[in-house]
Symmetry: C2
Subunit: 393 residues, 2 copies
């Protein structure tokens, strides 16, 4: 079956997470991703979990599947020359150095476009390619903090808290894929390449939803609200006998159904709960307390079943194991197997975007360090050995 | 200046958030987005914040800028006929009904591709177009719960907590844009259309990062960890004199710099902190406590300045107002103005993906209900009035 990005050559200089997540998407859907690592390998080859025996990083392996790999010392003259040769016929280059570093390495867009004017040069970073703090190093937690996400997450009674997984890195990587693909369509039409720039700070900022307009229009600075939504009620996470469930009751009709489902029909006529506005204002403590009581007497599975039958949005708070084993996740192939040459069977996430004619898939494992040195640069194994001795590969 | 998606006709049936966020991206970068609403308007026209005077929703307005709007009763014979006519020459259709609804409305992919085989038919939903729970209604909080995000967010000592903003909706919308654009490139090459399907459940699941491989390889079920990263230390959020700061110290060299920056050089030689592994194991309580003490004696601004100079990833936890006013956000035009015909000046988020040759921009405000009825369907105002009388528009 054809894949949508077949035939596209991607030169991938990325490390750790936002850039590799972008090129993972491109690779899953058929692009020929050539990952170029520094001589010792990129940083996340040492990140846990480490496979017993092979010493391979499970982290590196899931985010670098479907990519071929080579090593190259960009700080050597010969390495730089080989790199310039490599990008001559590339469609896309993706990098995620800190702002300013590509210029020092003489591989910034201004240099590369001279070699290949049609290239799409995509940059993922903490703070982007311009702006007053472009030079700063950034981790996911810093982007979450400055972008306004941490301030809006957590309970009022405790400190603000970051989103558990690295949402800034991931989403910046997905946006970067959007940018690459828009530039690609533009090139399909006009024949012209360009530079694409995505910052984790901007990324997080773009996810704040109505918090921004609540400030610019409403004039108040939104605060973290735990699991409660200030504009819908009931909308919350509840503890039950064996865990937690999330429940959202978005309108009057659903609220009536909900009251019947939990055996509290008297609430339907209660003047405090006649409209969503009234329910929002009067949710705490009585209505919340009553639902908490009801949930505490039931299991996750019971509540999910009752709400499914009633047509009310509801789901259990699943841990990683439960999510992995969920029949819906299995049916949608969101976990897939892949055989790695030294680490053996890998079992990790599949492809999110389902396409009827050109589906994505995981076809081969992440590269061993320098595995495709000869293939990517079109040289012999002897030449690879010589270049290794010279400190170029 | 050219925009990358110029000339593409998008028929937009989406409501609330994941679908509209996708078509917002398409519109920001030049696609001609035609939003088709039910007669009373889509649900989020009533969502706060509501503009005083005009009664317009600030929520609706930011996510529907750069779109034209019409009303249409798809349940009427004439309305359905007009809809079929509209999609004949469309490039893309985006919808985010619950699984199964498009079939009932006779506008599912099987029907539409008969009318327009080249169309890209994109569906955003809670649970996708297939799988055992495809039929269920879903809110962002439910996808966050079932996808494993809530379980991984928050402090051990308190209940798990959802990500404040609607991350499932937003990111599903961005993935849907990725799918549309991949299908578009495929069509540019092969001439063929297809269906694209993104679920919020899959979306959240794909963001869990190494939590999945920690379970499949390491065999343990990861738990929520507050602001601490189990694999890097120090990496945390600290309370300071006037708020909170996020700090990440990712390697030994940075740790030495960090110790000097906070005036605790003695930590460099401390056998408990000689490597990242040791620091992770011995972070709590002593090292964490000492950094907490130091932070408590400084302001956010002081800490940010010291860490910037030392080259250590660090940033203040900004609230919405502070993020909006941040000079970097301003320099990158992440907040933009737009004039709305009845609500006046709108000030909301700009475009994340920065493109050197074909940048996105906010060119016009969200449509009033039915504003482009005549233009979109190529009929006269008299005909619009007649169709309104007939309950079609």
């Amino acid at each position: 079956m054809r894949k949508p990005l077949e035939g596209l050559k991607v030169v991938d200089l990325t490390t750790a997470l936002n850039g590799p997540f972008c090129t993972m998407i491109l690779g899953d859907y058929g692009a020929d991703v050539l990952k170029i690592e520094p001589l010792g390998g990129e940083q996340c080859r040492t990140w846990g979990p480490i496979e017993e025996g092979s010493g391979e990083s499970g982290f590196f392996n899931y985010v670098n599947r479907n990519k071929k790999g080579a090593t190259l010392n960009l700080k050597s003259e010969k390495g730089l020359e080989m790199f310039y040769e490599l990008v001559k016929d590339a469609d896309i280059l993706v990098e995620n150095y800190r702002g300013g570093v590509t210029k020092k390495l003489k591989i910034d867009y201004d240099v590369i476009k001279e070699i290949n004017p049609k290239i799409i040069y995509a940059s993922g970073s903490g703070f982007g390619q311009y702006g007053p703090i472009t030079h700063r190093p950034c981790y996911d937690i810093v982007a979450q903090a400055m972008g306004g996400m941490i301030n809006l997450t957590g309970f009022k009674e405790t400190s603000p808290v970051k989103v558990g997984p690295s949402v800034a890195d991931h989403v910046a990587g997905i946006y970067l894929a959007v940018g690459v693909l828009m530039a690609l369509h533009n090139r399909d039409v006009t024949g012209e390449g360009q530079q694409v720039d995505v910052a984790m700070f901007d990324t997080i900022f773009s996810l704040l939803e109505n918090a921004l307009v609540n400030y610019t229009i409403g004039g108040f600075v939104p605060e973290r609200n735990g699991n409660v939504d200030p504009s819908i009620a009931p909308f919350d996470v509840f503890e039950c006998q064996d865990g937690f469930v999330a429940l959202g009751v978005g309108n009057d009709r659903l609220f009536q159904t909900f009251c019947r489902a939990i055996g509290h029909e008297e609430l339907i006529e209660d003047p405090r709960y006649l409209s969503n506005d009234l329910r929002c204002n009067n949710y705490i403590p009585d209505l919340q307390g009553l639902i908490r009581e009801w949930c505490a007497e039931h299991t996750k599975g019971e509540i999910e079943g009752i709400m499914d039958e009633a047509g009310i949005p509801c789901g259990p708070v699943l841990d990683v194991k439960e999510a992995i084993e969920h029949p819906h996740i299995k049916a949608r192939e969101m976990m897939v197997h892949c055989e790695h040459p030294t680490a053996g069977d890998q079992y990790f996430q599949g492809c999110v975007v389902k396409m009827s004619e050109t589906p994505g898939s995981v076809d081969f494992a992440s590269p061993l360090l320098g595995q495709h040195n000869a293939e990517i640069f079109g040289i012999s194994e002897d030449e690879v050995e010589q270049l290794k001795l010279e400190g170029v590969m």
